[in-house]
Structures are given as structure tokens and as C-alpha cells.
Amino acid sequence: MTEFMFTLTIITLVLAVYYLIYHVGTVWIVMIAAVQIARETRWPHKFEEIETFSNPLAPLVSVIVPAHNEEAGIAAAVDSLRHLRYPALEILVVDDGSTDRTFDVLANRYGLRQRRPSHPDERVPQLGESLSEFETADGTLRVIQKRSIGRRADAVNTALRVAKGELVCMIDADSMLAPDSLLRLVVPFMDDPSIVASGGTVLPANGISFHGGNPTMSWLPKGWLERFQLVEYLRAFVLGRTGWARRNGLTIISGAFGLYRRESVLRVGGLTGASLAEDADLLLAVHSDCVKRGVEYRVVFDARAICWTEVPSELGQLRTQRIRWAQGLDEILSKYRRMMYNPRYRVLGMLAMPWLLAYEYIAPFLAVFGFLISVTGLVTGWVSPGAVLLLAITGVGLATIVGIFAIIVQMLWMRLYVSRREVLMLLLTSLLEPLFYRPFTFIWQIRGIWRGRRGAESEWGVMTRKGALSDEVG
């Protein structure tokens, strides 16, 4: 064997071991998630939910909605919050320097009146100055107008400073919560004081009609780009996050739908204004704070608490989003590197963070490297076409298996997409996703990580909202 062939074989073996670990690990997470969701369905939920809903001592939840130029969807989002099945709610919308009619829509719809500015908690910094504060007659909806500094985190922090709830729920202005989703997340907080944060499943809302927070027509998005994202979200939320949360190893709670104990957020000074992954940054900061203080704590996840959100429907928007996410990943892995392989952080430090590094951060580089090696081998004749084809089929097949498991789990225990047509369409999407979607995301991830390494200025980009949530609401 020549030296070159030896090197090639070693590379192949390293890649094989890398992917073997990935797939074994994924099967482990899938199994944990499936068992967790199946177990959860066995509990007699109804009584605890009825009791919590009817109890005047249920903890006040401040729902924080940062809004920047969200006139298309803000009314639907706030309406869905006002229809939530939860007894003690304070809705805080932060109009973050909108130049469209976001504020007018709210003011006209809810009859807002100006109020005295609230006394802020100074533990959370705020960079963009608050201009004025408004509220409804019953005080359940407050709108804070502030100067924008172009950061969602600063808008959330503005609301965190004045939130009164024992629990704070952060959602996006283009999101809609299913009516019982907040109740589902709050009940564990009440039972277990050691729970500091909780997340729910986020799914694409594009092209779906809603009534009172529930989809009324076709559940599947119409565009392929959104469908690819749906499969990706199902895999990440239903399986990934449920599995990691079971072992207290969750590294992120989506900014589109997360519930925290207010005190735990205030202790870490709210969201980091400069971060591009402020949701992951916040959760890791909370983890870190709890471990430093030596307190027993848990971060949980309930896959059956659903939030629908508008996902990018154009390639350009998706590209900007994914580059930003990858740059954010680079930021947090660098910022929280001391957690990596740190036994004090248990599963989070010993498994979840290394997993994030190996299979979120490094994976796109290896995928592209593997692809280039295969193509070069094919062109130069080092590798036979049959071998490359088989390798590709293996990769696609294994990726599809995980997608299939996500479909099975959601179908058996969550009953989101159950009709024959929907399941077939999801299966087809799972098969096509590794071929037509994932390569793009890998390239964007590399671009984002590269930008992060260079210390490039972070970009938020602009996502044109189509008001996917507005159809039948209100």
C-alpha cells in the first residue's frame, strides 16, 4: 500500500468512526426522547391542568414579545396570547424602534393608554432608551416603545427589567402559542422549585390558517423550503431537545418559545446584547450560574407544548438566518469553553457541549471535506463510482432514518401530522432533505463560523414577514 493510499484509508476510517459515533449517539438520544414522550403521555394531565388553570395562586407569567416592524403579525400574536389557557398573564410587547405601523396596530386594536414608566430592575442592562409606556385598561397588556439598537436582546432586556411575573416567557412577535402550551410548561415549575427553565416545540406556521392558536386547515407548509425546515425542527425539537433535557443537558431553549424563572434570568443580567445566539447564551449563562452557586437545578423540555412561528420562505432569508446561527454557535462555544469536558457540569459538560462541538460545529467542515475527497477520488480514479454512490446512499439513508423516527414519535404520541398524505409528504421530505437542503446549510454554517473566527460584525438581516399567522385570528 502506498503512503497516499494509507493516508486515504486512515481518513476514511476516521470519518467512518466519526459518523458511527454520531449515529449511535443519535439513536441513544432518539430512544431517550421516545421513552420520555411516551412516559409523559401516561400521566393523568387533565386534573393538574384544570387545577392550575382555576387556581388564583397560579404564578404570574410575564410574556415578553419583542417587536421590530411586525405590523403583519403582531395582532395575531398578541390575540393568541390573550386567548391562552392560563389564569395569570402579563403581556409585555416591546416596540423596538419600529418604523412601520406596529404600534398603531396595537394601539387601535387594544385601546392603549399611556402610563407612568415602570421602575426597572437595574441588574439587567438596557442600551436603547425607553421612550414611553402604554397599557390596556385592564393592565394585562403593556407596550413599551424604545429606541432600537438593532438587537432583539436589548428589547427583551427592556421588558425583563419591568416584568412583574415570577416566570418570564420569551416569544417572537411572529409566533403563536397553542392554547394549552403555556399551562403545560408552567405546571412543572410549580411542582418543582429546582426547575429554572423550560422550552417547548417550535414548528413552522407558514401557510397555515389558525383559529385560537390551533391550525384549522392544512398542517403542512406548502413550500419545500419550509417543509425541509419542518423536518429539521421535528428532529431537533421533538427528538434532540427532549432527549438532552431528560439528562439535564439542554444547551438551547429557542428564543421563539422559552419559559424561565425571572430571578434566574435577572441573576445573569438578562440577555447578552451583543450575542447572535442570545437564546443559547442565556441558557448556558443560567446553567453556569446554577453550577457556580452549587444549587440543584433542572432545565426541562415539553415537546407537546407547541409554538408556531413563521420560518424563512426564501433562500436569501434562510441563508442570513443560518449564517447568523452558525456565527452565534461559534460565539457561545468560545465564550463557554470552560464548560466543555468539565465534570462539574455533568451531562452538559461531558456530553452535550462536546456533541455540539463535534456534530454542529465541526460537522459541516467534515461533510464538505468528505464530499471533496469523494469527488476528487472519483475524478482521479482513486475511488470507484460504485463506492462513492454507496457512501452517498449510506449517508442519506442514515440521515433519513433519524427523520423517520421523528415522524414516528410525533405521530404516535403528539399526533401533529397523522394523515396518510402528511406522513408520505414528510417521508419524502426526509429523503430529499439530505440531498437538496442540508448541503446548503453546511455551506452557510461554514460561512457563519468563518465570520465568527474572523470576528466579523454580526448581521441580523431583515426578514419580510408575510403574516402567516394572521388568517383567522381575532
Binding site: M5, L8, T9, T12, A16, R39, R42, W43, P44, K46, F47, E48, I50, E51, T52, N55, L57, P59, H119, E122, M190, D191, D192, P193, G377, G381, W382, V383, S384, G386, A387, L390, L391, I393, T394, G397, L398, T400, I401, I404, F405, I407, I408, M411, L412, R415, V418, R420, V423, L427
Partner: protein, 304 residues
Amino acid sequence: MLTLRLSEFVLVTVLVCAGPFVLALLLLLVAVAYSRAKARRASANREKYLDMLILASEGAGDPAPARRAARREVADLAVHLLSNLIGQEYRQLADWLLRWGFEGDAQEWLGSRSAAQRLRGAVLLLLMKGEAAMPATLPLLADLHLRVRSGVARVLGYAGTEVAVSPVLRAIELDLLAPSIGMMSILRIYPRDGAPLAGGMRSDSAPLRRVAAASVGILEMHSLREPVETLLDDPDESVRLAAIETLDRLAAPGSMALLRAALQSADTAERGAHELALIEQALMSCGTVPSEQMLDFDEEGDAL
């Protein structure tokens, strides 16, 4: 040319992976069929059992199904229904469940290894039998599973009586129950006897003292004003705050002297702005506060 070795390697990989892939596809097919059949059956059963339970709540009703899985479904539906019924309908449905042997099911579930099943048993038993079920269900306040303990506390609040107050307070004291859940339970029970709460205010456990003090205020138990007043100087701030809020609610002029003393004592500097503001609020509820005694606060909320 790397054809043979790599091809062999890839072939082995594919053969190893093809199995799981085919298996996953088969599993998907089975899951689709199973899920659809299950959904159809569940929907039909739900309709059938709900009709049966509604008839039972009206005094009639067919015999309950004998199959274990079906009885579990009926029990869950019955719990849902019972928590929405009152008066005669509630009693008739509970009697129907007792008549068709659901007490035996619930007792069996109480001893189950599955925590969810234990909770199911406790909820059903308490809703069917009320106080008579408490000897069997109160031990579950010390269950190994937190969710069972909390669930039992919730249903005790709904269907329990004063007998449950002391065990709930004890569970808070032993850190077996979140104070907020215990307090909700106590308030729902609405006890008339203040002795357990008075005992709670003397406990070494700060969360219990806080729950007891706060409950006295919400339940407006004027007879327990004095034990609450002793908590105005409690070392735990949350207990002091609960005591002040309770005195505010009770609004008894007799508390004014102690509240004023708390406002003017040497410890005032150690009390936070929020606490001092609450004391002022309580003083106003109990009587009037001379303006010269009102504290001023700076922009940061510190007392001047």
C-alpha cells in the same frame, strides 16, 4: 486505484446500515397503521364512555367495561368529568364508579410501580370518596415521585377536608412539596381550624412559616393575628414580607403599634425598600399614618 478495499468497506457499512433503514421504514408503516387504528378506537371509545358517564351522572348508566385498558380510559374521563361537576350529578357519578368496582381499581393503582398510575389511583379515589379516601392517599404526600406528591396535594385541595391540612404542612416542612402547591391546596380546603397554621408559623422551616403566614391572610383568620405579628422580626425576609401582607389584609388596628415599631426600629436599615413600602401600606390599611412618619424613597428605591 482504491476500489476493492474502500468498496468492501462501504459495502459492509451499507449492509449494516441498510438493515436499520429498512427497519425504520417498516416501523413507520406499522406506526402509521397502529396510530390510525388507535386514534379511531380512542375517538369511538371516548364518545361511548363519555355518553355512559354522563348517563351515570344523571342517575342511570350502563355497566362499566371489564377490560383493564378500557377501565383506565373510563377512569381518566370520569376524573375529567368529576372535576367539572357539582352537587347531585357529582355524587351520582361517584356512586356509579364505586358501584362498578372502580374503588378496587384505584386501590390497585395506588400500589403500582408506575408513578403515573399511583397518581391516577389517588386522584380517582379522592374524587370518588372524599374524606374517606384520605387514609389511603395521604401517605402519597411522601411518595418518591415529586409529581405524585404534587398531584395528590392538588386533589386534596379539591376533594380533601381539614384533616389534610396538617399532612400538607408537614410535607412542606420536610421539603417534599413545593410551598406554592401546598398553599394552594390549603386555601382550596379552606380550613376553619387555625391550629395547624399556628403550628406552621412556629416551625423551623422558613418556607412553612411563610406559607402559614400568607394563608392566614388570604383566609382572613383574625384569630391568628398575634402569631403572625411575631413573624414581623423573622430572620427570613420572605417570611417577614408574608407576615406584613397578611397584617395588611387583616387590617386590624391592634397591629399598628408593632408595624410602626418595625418601621422605626434600628433594624429599618436592614429592611429593603420593598419591605418598608409594604409596612407603610399595611399601616394605612390598619389605620392612618401621620405624614411626618411616612418614609421618602430616592430614585433607586432606598429609604431616605
